[in-house]
């Protein structure tokens, strides 16, 4: 584990390759690109981007060295950190919190009604998948990762889930935005559980900014600039609540060829909060939930966070220092 000796600072990188999803929960990336905030902050470093549909693909790209940083959910971040024994990546900032919910079809009004039903999640072991498994367990249901148990959980790609739900082949799904809103607005689904209700203060991480460890070691200056752009984006969203929806939608349309319906994006934005705080204190719970759900190997996430650059950034801009909750550098 020590063979990859501490790489030294090599100054600013020529290029930063950034990954993100064309999703409302990744709005800081979308806005940063659409408004040019990220490139402005990076200066001479060229920004190139890559759009992913799911966490694993982004992690694989990061591991293979095809990208340097990516917006991603907390669980895939935990996963790669544990699998690589801390050698793959670091979380350098938070991006979004909230914006996930269990939506179900008409007629299901309580947890009791879920017995024998089939629910979807975006991906085995992703943030929502773990949340659903944890929640079901708390409700006294048995589940397992191979589709057995009292409630069947079937990890299914979001677009497919939408289709299957409309066709009546699924009874519900624990999804991130904007899919919650799409199911609610376009498919008549009802929110049974808002994930925010499951966490103290209603705050839980949905998206974080993850950087390849090697890149972080070699080009801290570039990562710093990226963080500046990221912070600017988050700030921009807070400051432009009126136009944020259309800017986000413009980038989504550019990446996927299809904008979201106005009602969908409006509803989605109501449920997501954007912040640079990764809520490090919740990560131990996330790991416990993952291990309990059987989607996570046991392992230490000590060192997952490297918030030094972010805190330095915040110090200059007058923000409050963010804690790594003992899981890394501050």
């Amino acid at each position: 584990a020590s063979s990859t000796a501490e790489a030294t600072d090599q100054g600013p990188a020529e290029e930063l390759r950034l990954g993100y999803f064309a999703n409302v929960t990744h709005a800081p990336a979308l806005v940063g690109l659409q408004e040019g905030l990220l490139q402005d902050a990076l200066g001479d470093t060229k920004l190139s981007t890559e759009v992913f549909n799911a966490g694993p693909a982004a992690i694989e790209a990061l591991s293979a060295g095809a990208i340097d940083a990516t917006y991603i959910g907390p669980n895939p971040s935990i996963n790669t950190f544990i699998q690589s024994r801390g050698e793959s990546a670091r979380i350098v900032a938070g991006a979004a919190t909230g914006g996930a919910a269990l939506v179900v079809r008409d007629g299901i009004t309580s947890a009791r009604d879920l017995e024998g039903k089939t629910l979807a999640t975006p991906q085995l072991g992703n943030t929502q998948d773990v949340a659903l498994r944890g929640w079901l367990k708390a409700q006294g249901f048995q589940t397992d990762t191979s589709g057995g148990g009292d409630v069947t959980i079937t990890p299914t790609e979001n677009a497919q889930t939408f289709q299957l739900f409309k066709d009546g082949q699924l009874d519900g799904a624990w999804l991130p935005e904007p899919w919650v809103s799409r199911l609610v607005v376009d498919a008549g689904a009802k929110v049974l559980v808002d994930e925010a209700d499951e966490w103290p203060d209603g705050e839980f991480p949905t998206t974080v900014l993850l950087v390849r460890k090697e890149f972080l070691d070699q080009h801290p200056e570039t990562v710093s600039k990226l963080l500046a752009g990221h912070e600017a984006s988050v700030k921009w969203i807070a400051d432009n609540a009126g136009t944020a929806a259309s800017v986000i939608n413009a980038q989504i349309a550019a990446d996927t060829g299809k904008p979201l319906a106005d009602a969908v994006i409006a509803r989605a934005l109501e449920h997501v909060t954007y912040s640079v705080d990764p809520h490090a204190d919740t990560f131990s719970t996330l790991v416990e939930n993952g291990v309990a759900a059987g989607t996570q190997k046991e392992g230490s996430i000590e060192g997952l966070f490297d918030l030094r650059l972010l805190n330095a950034q915040l110090a200059t801009s007058g923000g409050t220092k963010i804690s790594a909750a003992g899981l890394g550098e501050e």
Binding site: D144, G147, L164, T295
Partner: protein, 296 residues
Amino acid sequence: MRADTTASADDLRSLEAGLDNLQTTTDAGAGRFRTFWSSVLPPVIFVVLLIAAWQLYIVIADPRPDKAPSPADVLGALTYAWDTGRLQEAVLTSLERGILGFVIAIIIGTPIGLLLAEVRPIRRAVGPIISGLQVLPSVAWVPAAIIWFGLTDATAYFVILMGAIPSIVNGLISGVDQVPPQLRRVGTVLGASKWQLATSVILPAALPGYFAGLKQGWAFSWRSLMAAEIITSGGTIGFGLGTMLQQTRDLADLAGVLATIVVILGIGILIELAFFGPIERRMLRGRGLLLSGGTR
């Protein structure tokens, strides 16, 4: 000189017996056990060496475990999957699907093959299409099948059928084609009716080709199934080996991925060795088509 010109019947008998003895050598299949060892041992040693080299690399280079897990990690992933029961479930589900799909493919493919082999005009028209379908990767059917059948088992079965049926049909056709015309003529000369000709001569004679087609059909079934399971994970589709592969990938669990690959490979080899191998060897040996010994 003229004395023994007309060999008496007895004389002829003893001469023929002598010649028969000289011309047939009954080499006993001794050393079967030795052949077994000499054919099984070297690859086993090779695999062990390979694993040792792998372990050595891990110890010396100490690479990131999520990019290059050690043999022990893979074994651990395997036992973990076994302990949680996921492995057993995946193997059973996949085998059940594979075998059921294969059986359906046989039931559908055999009559089609017979029809094509025996009715010229149909064969001319349909034969090239079937051969063409063999060229099409059956994985290409997966997206269409998902649209038609959703993420259900029907998709898996459809893809298996599209993969296996052309092989079985073509195997039967080439089996019938390879029936020596001499045998057909003997059948006719012996006074066989059309039906007797088919059941007593052509079908048994076509068996080796048919069986080769079945074997290939199974390989295609298994391949197609894995592809279908990987691509269609989700929905109401059951949990098979392909799904397991996809899930371990999603968890960035390379040890689990490699463990699953080992299981898929193992099942492939096992079915080949334990099912098709003995049947084929018996059939070929019964017809003298198998050279004794040999490396295969």
